[in-house]
């Protein structure tokens, strides 16, 4: 009889955790290759195509950076929430709520204010929107012990439907000629691009700054310390007199707020008006979960992992065109990577061994 047993691993070295990531990525690529084979595509060709599409050309790289912006922003915020073991999978909704708030601010004040004022204003509005949507599950969890995985997930749908209701109803713009969507934001509220690209540099700068600032917050501040303690051992947090409600509210305000800022970038930098949820965000809120995980919950590393996953999104678009694969291909690639990264973590923390035995005892 063959049995598989596990025990905890007690000696985890930095080298070992690094190798775990490398091996997980490698194993994921193997599985992805098999999937490509099944649909009749040469996997080596497809995978090369993905990465040359995203990192191999100037045009591709610019697109990669563009898509990395929301991923880095959201991923950074998620590292904070995940450190406290608050499983926020509602970044998608928080992003949309940020977009809604920003659009409102842009449409209302855009005509009256100059760009120097309106741009910070819509960013602030977006942050508040995301934060508002983020603290709802925080309150539900601390006050009423409602599981945050379920509440954040459900709030995604609520927000998406609310947004749809706005753009087909009260916010429907005349300039859309009857199609759902708001009017375009006034020019003063549109974010500047790096010439020849779609990179809205204001949001990019914010993303990089937040990644560094959050790193400092997590490792150097009192709030970051409390977050780490709560995540490591909630009972010790209670004993240490940490105010759970306050800590969770702040961290979810930040986590949601950053997703909201990403929403501002998408509306004011790329689309210029509020359209259907699926067009505003192509699942950034979910992809960012993998970004945060691959970054080992260190905000600064989300810059690298954000670029990596943005590359896969862009490269996925490329093979969709060149190989005629369905759009879901990218989701399969991302999902496979996440599963293997999480499994890798398990193998890092546990020893697994297989036992052959034909004995029975006493």
């Amino acid at each position: 009889m063959i049995k598989i047993k596990t025990t905890n691993r007690y000696d985890i070295t930095p080298f070992r955790s690094f190798m775990t990531i490398v091996l997980s990525l490698f194993a994921a690529l193997m599985v992805i290759s098999i999937i490509f084979l099944i649909v009749g595509v040469n996997p080596i060709y497809a995978i090369t195509e993905i990465f040359s599409g995203s990192f191999g050309s100037v045009y591709g790289f610019k697109e990669t950076v563009t898509k990395a912006i929301p991923l880095i922003l959201i991923g950074t915020g998620l590292t904070l929430a995940f450190r406290a073991k608050f499983w926020n999978i509602g970044a998608e909704g928080q992003l949309l709520m940020g977009a809604i708030f920003a659009t409102w601010a842009g449409l209302h004040f855009g005509q009256k204010l100059p760009p120097v004022l309106i741009v910070p204003l819509i960013f602030l509005a977006g942050f508040i929107g995301g934060a508002f949507w983020g603290i709802i599950p925080a309150i539900l969890k601390i006050k009423y012990s409602i599981n945050e995985v379920i509440s954040t997930l459900m709030l995604n749908y609520i927000c998406a439907e609310f947004l749809t209701m706005l753009i087909v109803g009260p916010w429907k713009g005349k300039a859309r000629f009857g199609f759902p969507g708001t009017n375009n934001l006034p020019d003063s509220a549109i974010l500047g691009l790096i010439p020849g690209s779609r990179i809205h540099y204001a949001t990019l700068t914010l993303a990089l700054i937040f990644a560094v600032v959050l790193c400092v917050i997590i490792y150097k501040t009192r709030f970051g310390y409390e977050t780490r303690v709560v995540g490591e051992n909630p009972d010790a947090g209670k004993y240490a007199g940490i105010n759970f409600l306050k800590t969770t509210l702040i961290l979810m305000a930040v986590s949601g707020g950053l997703a909201g800022v990403a929403g501002v970038g998408e509306v004011a930098g790329i689309h210029h008006y509020l359209g259907y949820p699926a067009s505003i965000s192509s699942g950034y809120g979910f992809t960012a979960i993998i970004v945060a995980w691959l970054a080992k919950l260190n905000p600064v590393y989300t810059i690298i992992s954000g670029l990596f996953f943005a590359g896969i999104l862009v490269g996925g678009d490329a093979i969709q065109i060149s190989l005629g694969l369905p759009a879901a291909t990218v989701d399969i690639v991302n999902g496979t990577l996440l599963i293997f990264l999480i499994m890798g973590d398990y193998f890092l923390n546990h020893k697994i061994f297989i036992q052959f035995s034909n004995k029975s005892r006493i």
Partner: protein, 515 residues
């Protein structure tokens, strides 16, 4: 069938003698075991002694297959074997009862045993296991109700479940890592008689403990480790407590401390008629009232599970108080937040040190300020002052002799006793007005115990008051000015420690006498 019978026998015969030969193991270049030899024969009980961090647990984890030695070998009956993991060690007939039990709280005894047992059938697993448990309880004279849930059991009963689990898996060699630290005196007696029974049936036992009396009582032979090396060994009949302690610490240890008489000062703590519920929502404390003064140590004696933990947690703000009042220096702190209560001068050494006392994945210096991180000394409004924090940590580590190679290590890498020292150092370093200490010497070696007791008396002299929970009556009588006996959430008596009536303390702890 015949072959199975034969097989059974060969297993019972399996380990006659076991040797560990020149075992060495280091962690990140720091040696934890160096060139250690240990041998044990069937029917023998060997004690393993040593200061906190001497490497006892590490050595046993190697034998149990949790760690691989860097060098050295293990022989069973003269044949060299490799133990790569616990499953292999179990199949060689080695069982281990860890210091922190690994049972599933919401499952029953039977279910927990079935989980760890290889012969559990897929269908109706309980029937077969029940039979086996019954058999074993009879053989070794255990008393255990197989249908109780784990959370309903006392520490001693949980330990018995762990022992049955090991025995069912055919353990001929049983390793017990500090088995008595969490037991009441009566449970210790019962454990000892169980171990004697096992010895008589040819089992071998390795017994780790810091309590020299127990070692002297049940072990045939003692091996003393010091800083990862063998410092000596002796047959218990040729040695005594004093020389064992000397071998271990390298100097003489004072077992009896004389406390000087002090007049009590102002009132520090007053508890007025508090009622508190336990974890399961049932009343745990029933109208408890008492007062505590400066320069005074009040001991709470009692069998564990009679409300001690709830009392400590209610005073320190972790557990809600349903009715009644707690005051510190006249200020009402009833149901205030743990931080507010700490700021009023109340420190707390928690009973469940791993659960409440530390964040295991954070660094030593992070843990050294768990309750103090909000103080001006260690953080400005927003930022932590890591320089000061690290200096403070070094002070604690030096003063309390926490053995670690660096303060930049994660707390989960410390040995059990050293975690306790770190918590103690953290809680008493601020000269608290009131120290609530549950089993403070739990897991400490003799040297550290002596140091801690002196330190508590020193705090008392400087005007602090201490509320001491302990199951060690000797410790209570030695340190306390007054003693409260708790039973079923009520105080049976609160008496001066030299009061004649305390000779009936056993009756009071059992609830059959009240003063």
């Amino acid at each position: 069938m015949l072959s199975r019978l034969f097989f059974k026998k060969s297993i019972m015969k399996k380990i006659k003698c076991l040797e560990m030969k020149s075992i060495s193991k280091s962690f990140h270049g720091i040696p934890a075991n160096q060139d250690i030899n240990l041998s044990i024969e069937s029917g023998e009980i060997v004690g393993l002694l040593g200061e906190n961090g001497a490497g006892k647990t590490t050595l046993m984890n190697i034998l149990y297959g949790l760690y691989q030695p860097d060098s050295g070998q293990i022989n069973i009956n003269g044949n060299r074997i490799r133990i790569n993991n616990p499953v292999e060690s179990i199949s060689h007939g080695i069982g281990m009862v860890h210091q922190h039990f690994m049972l599933i709280k919401n499952h029953s005894v039977i279910e927990n045993i079935a989980l760890g047992y290889k012969g559990t059938p897929f269908f109706f697993p309980k029937m077969k296991i029940r039979e086996k448990v019954h058999l074993f309880s009879k053989k070794f004279d255990f008393r255990i109700d197989p249908d109780k849930k784990i959370w309903q059991l006392s520490a001693g009963e949980q330990q018995r479940v762990e022992i049955i689990k090991a025995l069912l898996n055919g353990a001929a060699l049983l390793i017990l890592d500090e088995p008595t630290s969490v037991l009441t005196p009566r449970e210790i007696k019962e454990l000892i008689s169980i171990l004697r029974g096992m010895k008589a049936k040819g089992h071998m036992i390795i017994f780790i403990s810091h309590k020299l009396d127990e070692i002297m009582e049940i072990c045939d032979r003692v091996i003393v480790l010091q800083k990862g090396k063998i410092a000596g060994s002796a047959d218990t009949k040729d040695t005594d407590k004093k020389s064992l302690a000397r071998m271990m610490v390298g100097r003489d240890v004072v077992f009896n401390i004389n406390k000087e008489k002090l007049a009590k000062g102002k009132k520090v703590l007053s508890v007025e008629n508090i009622n508190v519920n336990g974890d399961k929502g049932l009343p745990a404390l029933n109208n408890i009232s008492f007062e505590l003064f400066e320069n005074e140590i009040l001991g709470v004696a009692g069998v564990s599970g009679n409300g001690q933990r709830e009392l400590a947690e209610a005073i320190t703000g972790i557990r809600p108080i349903l009715s009644g009042k707690v005051k510190i220096k006249g200020r009402d702190i009833t149901n205030k937040s743990p931080r507010c209560i700490y700021d009023n001068g109340v420190s707390h050494v928690p009973e469940e040190r791993i659960r409440f006392g530390i964040a295991p994945g954070l660094f030593l210096y992070d843990n050294a300020i768990l309750k103090q991180h909000h103080l001006k000394k260690f953080s400005s409004r927003y930022f932590l002052r890591y320089n000061r924090i690290k200096n403070h940590t070094k002070t604690i580590v030096n003063k309390f002799k926490v053995s670690t190679h660096s303060i930049n290590t994660r707390v989960r890498n410390l040995s059990g006793g050293n975690i306790q020292k770190l918590i103690l150092g953290r809680e008493v370093s601020e000269q608290p007005q009131l120290l609530v200490a549950s089993h403070p010497t739990y897991g400490l070696d003799v040297g550290a115990t002596e140091f801690l007791r002196k330190h508590l008396l020193e705090l008392r002299k400087q005007g602090s008051s201490v509320l001491l929970f302990s199951e060690d009556l000797e410790e209570i009588f030695e340190l306390c000015d007054r003693i409260a006996v708790i039973f079923d959430g009520r105080f049976m008596a609160v008496l001066d420690s030299d009061d004649e009536r305390l000779c009936d303390i056993g009756l009071m702890m059992a609830g059959s006498k009240k003063i």
